[in-house]
């Protein structure tokens, strides 16, 4: 029996969710984030929720502190130590200009300044042979120079250190001797994958955010202890798993995307508990919409991404839950461009001034304004009636916008919604159809304040048959964090032809990675817990560059033969599904070995609610424009809190709750699951 607490610090709000399994009590709270000192917002939430920290066994935390430190460039003064001949590799990057026709393009701005970049005389080959032995004397002098430069953090990245990290380890020792207090990151501790620029960038990112992020975690732990907390602290990672606070202090770069990932993980568990094998997590907030594909409870994982965008951002070569984000949210602004075309976003009115209907000085029509004009969001019931919306002000602006296109206010509002929906549908298509998955096999879990309003429309557009609206769809990330296991991902470049693979060497690499992961888990888990691992080979046809990760199983590794044949046919199959063609007669290359180790945590069960029986009763009726501007229907309005398991609401209808509204279109059917979720069967789909 445990008492688990999760707190997620987002850009605007800090969310708390806790579950005491002994007493079967949940706690939740939402407060404004406090960027000057995030712990203030955390304690606000703790106080508001009434959680007694001394009773809590485990604290799970996600925070924007890591990514903010990188993006706002407020990290440590960072030095970089590299192999002789590669001093400028970090600045040169890949030499590319994604913004192809812009002659004023910008390159990424280094996080370790060139004047604090030093070469050490050493060189290893791609196979780990020493080409030039480590120059101990010169390395010591580099260490001294760095110490006297005042650098607060040091990144070390030698060529081919994934094949042999000996020199990096020695350099780390020399640096620590020279200054025991400085924050040091060695590239092979972050990843053991080839690609020196990306590995170097990831190492520098970790060093740059290291001192500030680790201090933040330590301060928060101390603050909690002062309030009686004596349990374990875990940090949400970008890969969908947790790590201990100690691990996070060494590898803070792994926690960059903690918030959005918490939401995806929660969606994954909710859909899976409701019996859906595959799901699409869809979150629509004020400024953006995010979509992610989940199979079973496994989110899609990307091998790396760019902090700050592809064109000018810093590559982070680490597994991250693959989330597609587009600039369409409730606050996205509708506008007519200079040649008369109607467009929505990516500019957003944000929370301040917000949409026109908020009456806080917004003057430009937004998606939310359109929803209010159409009656889909109730003007008097927003945020549980705490805030009346000014529907007339919104209507007059949208009416003006519509004149250009001979549309009345409803027509223009419908056009705004349809354009926003078309864009979001393209994003959802990008993670499903375009990856060879058929959305008709998926349920969409819609979250965020604006998600449930638009989910049915997106589902129709893509023929997604089921939409799930979870309980408290607008406070989802913190809850997701309580559902996650500990997880560590390891990668090791292991290069050669599949048919010539040295199975003993391969098994050895895999065993070492599993051992390493399990050693970390043993340190991190205070109680005996179930640990497991998954293993993948990154494969490609000889001559290709991009790889696909193909699972391999323990029994295959232990068998004397059959591995090559089964892995090869699995690869051909995945290649064919993703790209529509395969080449079963061609040679396959092994590029990397990946191992993911998990340590299971006790999961919070979903609360089973009591079946009320009987049909639901609407609290009121209002006029809602659903399908075309000329037909406005008298639509029943339900309160979500009053709906009970087993009850069914048939569209057209709206279901309101504190921070969101679910809109059901004609012939949609929403059934309340026994754990409280709305499971919507979308009308007109198979």
């Amino acid at each position: 029996m445990t008492f688990n607490l999760a707190v997620d610090i987002g850009g605007t709000f800090t969310d708390l969710f806790a579950f005491d399994s002994e007493r079967a009590v949940t706690y939740e709270a939402k407060c404004l984030s406090t960027p000057h000192d995030f712990s203030v917002g955390v304690m606000d939430c703790v106080n508001k929720s009434g959680v007694d920290l001394s009773a809590v066994n485990a604290f799970v935390h996600g925070s924007t502190v890591a990514i903010n430190t990188a993006i706002e460039r407020t990290g440590a003064l960072t030095a970089l130590v590299v192999t002789k001949g590669t001093r400028d590799v970090y600045q040169i990057g890949r030499g590319n200009r994604p913004d192809a026709y812009n002659i004023f393009f910008e390159r990424p701005l280094p996080l370790a300044p060139p004047r604090l970049t030093f070469e050490v005389n050493q060189r290893t080959s791609a196979t780990g042979n020493v080409l030039r032995s480590f120059d101990e004397k010169q390395a010591r002098s580099v260490a001294q120079t760095i110490v006297s430069s005042g650098a607060e953090a040091i990144a070390v990245c030698f060529l081919h250190s994934y094949a042999d990290p000996t020199d990096e380890i020695r350099m780390g020792e020399l640096l620590r001797e020279a200054n025991p207090d400085v924050y040091i990151t060695l590239s092979h501790d972050i990843t053991r994958q080839y690609g020196e620029y990306e590995r170097m960038s990831t190492t520098v990112l970790n060093a740059f955010i290291g001192p500030r992020t680790s201090l933040y975690i330590e301060d928060l732990e101390n603050l909690f202890r002062e309030h009686g907390f004596s349990g374990d602290t875990y940090i949400m990672q970008s890969n969908g798993g947790l790590m201990s606070a100690e691990t996070a202090k060494r590898s803070p770069v792994a926690m960059m995307e903690s918030g959005p990932v918490g939401g995806v993980m929660a969606s994954a568990y909710v859909a899976s508990d409701l019996g859906f094998a595959n799901s699409i997590a869809f979150d629509m907030g004020g400024t953006t919409a995010k979509a992610s594909l989940v199979q079973g409870r496994e989110p899609s994982i990307a091998d790396g991404y760019y902090i700050g965008g592809y064109s000018t951002g810093h590559p982070a070569m680490l597994p991250v839950v693959d989330i597609v984000e587009i600039g369409t949210g409730g606050g996205s602004i509708a506008w007519v461009d200079e040649v008369g075309a109607l467009d929505v976003g990516p500019r957003s009115a944000g929370a301040d001034p917000g949409p026109i209907c908020y009456g806080r000085g917004g003057t430009q029509a937004t998606v939310t304004d359109a929803d209010v004009i159409l009656g889909r969001i109730g003007w008097s019931s927003f945020l549980g009636g705490e805030m009346d919306l000014d529907v007339d002000a919104a209507r007059s602006v949208v009416e003006g916008l519509g004149k250009t296109f001979n549309l009345d206010a409803n027509g223009a509002a419908l056009a705004i919604i349809q354009i926003a929906v078309a864009k979001m549908s393209l994003a959802v298509r990008g993670i499903s159809v375009e990856r060879g998955f058929d959305p008709r096999d998926f349920a969409m879990v819609a979250t965020g304040g604006a998600g449930p309003v638009h989910a049915s429309l997106i589902a129709r557009e893509l023929s997604i048959p089921k939409v799930v609206i979870p309980v408290l769809p607008a406070h989802f990330s913190a809850r997701g964090m309580l559902l996650c296991d500990l997880r560590h991902d390891y990668v090791q470049t292991f290069y050669g032809l599949l048919k010539q693979v040295d199975l003993a060497a391969l098994r050895n690499v895999i065993d070492n990675l599993i051992d390493e992961g399990q050693r970390v888990l043993v340190r991190e888990l205070s109680v005996d817990a179930e640990t497991s691992f998954q293993c993948f080979l990154d494969l490609r046809y000889e001559g290709q560059e991009f790889t696909l990760s193909v699972p391999v199983y323990r029994h295959e590794l232990n068998a004397t033969d059959g591995l090559v044949a089964s892995v090869r046919s699995r690869f051909d199959e995945i290649h064919d599904r993703n790209y529509g063609h395969a080449a079963p007669e061609e040679a396959i290359e092994v590029v990397n070995v990946r191992v993911s180790v998990r340590g299971a945590r006790e999961r919070m069960p979903l609360t089973v609610l009591i079946d009320a029986g009987g049909p639901p009763t609407p609290v009121s009726y209002r006029k809602v424009c659903l399908e075309d501007s000329t037909s406005v229907v008298e639509c029943p309005v339900y309160h979500r809190a009053a709906l009970a398991p087993g009850q069914t609401v048939i569209g057209p209808a709206v279901i309101e709750e504190y921070a969101s509204t679910t809109v059901l279109f004609p012939s949609d059917e929403a059934m309340v699951a026994e754990t409280g979720e709305l499971v919507v069967s979308i009308g007109g789909t198979i």
């Binding site: 040169i92 590319n96 192809a100 026709y101 812009n102 690609g195 109607l342 061609e586």
Partner: protein
Amino acid sequence: MSVEATAIDPVTLEVIRNGLPAITNEMSYDLQRTSYNMMIYEVRDYSCTLLDPQGRLLAQNIGGVSHFIADMGVIVQDGMEKHRAEGFAPGDVVMMNHPAVAGQHLNNVVIYTPFFIDGKLTAFPAVRAHWVDIGGLSTGFGPGTESFDPWCAGLQVDQLKIYEAGEPDEKLVKMIRDNIRFPENAMGDLRSQIAACRLAERRLEDMYTRYGAEMIARATQIIFDQTERRCRAAVETIPDGVYEAENLIDDYRADAPPVYIHVKVTVEGSDMTIDFTGTADQQVGNMNARTMAAAYIAYKALTAPSAAANEGSFAGLKAIIPEGSIMMATYPASTGNWSSVIAGSVDTVFRSLAEAIPDRIPAGHLGYMGIGRSFWGFDLRRNKSVILQSIDGGGWGGRPVGDGPSASVTVCQGDVRNAPIEAIELKTPVVVEERALRRDSGGPGKFRGGLGLSLSIRSLVDGRWGIPRDRRSNCPPWGLFGGEPGRRGANWVKVPEGEWEKTNLVRFQTVAGTTVRGETPGGGGWGDPFDRDPARVLDDVLSGYVSIGAALEDYGVVLGSDGNVVDVPATADTRTKRRLARTEPVDVDR
């Protein structure tokens, strides 16, 4: 197609506007991830397009190299002439690289398929991609200098159907396979190109079924018109006038005279004419092309750099490139080195406009295709022939608002990525000794030119190199408004136990242990170097961009004895004296 651009509901218009480029981007994603040669997966030397049967560009993928902009129309028009509409059937796949029409090196192979809706030929998805070999002397980046006619350069394929109604022409496939090196790679790329076209057919099918051909035709006409209007609005912000500039780009032979580039840009209201009349005639060698790319890239950069390209993108431009000139060569001129003069020609257009719109034009950039180098040899470890290729950038010019970027690919190349050192060494028997910025290579200026790059590779086996010449020896990237030119590039070779020697060779055999170094030019400076903030010069010295000697010589900045501070009085004194000594402007030849 004579469809009136009448009103259409704004939602359908937006859906089609976003939907067509989404198809080409999806084609691009799949092609890149499944391709078999670095020219596609790193250099992105390809384009994915949708065209109508008139050859009008409906959409083109975003990203990839810039010089493929809107160049597929002539291919489709030529195919329609040769096959006629009735000659196409569903399931056909057409292959085309013939230089009489395609005008590029033969490695750039176009694959396209007809798309039918209700039995009517409606569109063509088309993918052009750089194959690693197409026979002849084409291995790597394309044929070297020895290819003086198209037959040396490889196979010429003239609108041949490699599939007819879904059935492969096995004879043609075998003929191609048997006459190219690395056939597994090329056949893999062919498969990826066909898959991308098939994918587009499926997406088009969805879209046409939903909206109908008539609606889509109307929408695309409106999209073209709106795109044109957007570009014209940008041209209107340039003062009316006639602007001219010139440039010299080295031929591939050290003893040949440089190639002269001349451009005249006329701006009148929203009309722009880019006229390359006066530019060199087509060459005996292979530095020829049939391409509008130089004019198109410049126009796009000046008007709508981030918008998706379609037929409307260039409707407001009149581009004049006379038949028989180096960029509009008449067959059988060899177009083996087709891209060599484009980057420098684009820059010449910008140079002509520097006085007219001084706040929107940077100084000259490296202006040629960078150090694309290839090495091919036999890998004893893997018992097979291997090829190494990487493209590295150079300096861009100083800007009215800041320093030029260093070591970046040219204006002709966009999202073109160098090969990582670790990837090169995993795949080929070489050691990359150095990938570094060239100190003092950026043209001095108030805003310094970006630095060129130096790349040294030592081969561990005997093999053959293909490297480009530095093309700026007669005309290094220029400075603007008092800024000085960037430093020229060079190529060097060091045989085992030997010394570094400069080389003018572009293809040569080497023995194991030979090191080859390529250096790219720096960008030109913008504004008077004596106006550069001395603190920035100090930072350049500490960062290794500028030597202490050049700080004094080029910028008049005196540093304290430890080299860590600016000697302010001595700097002011030096600059004053040196300014006075400038009785007349000296053309500093670096």
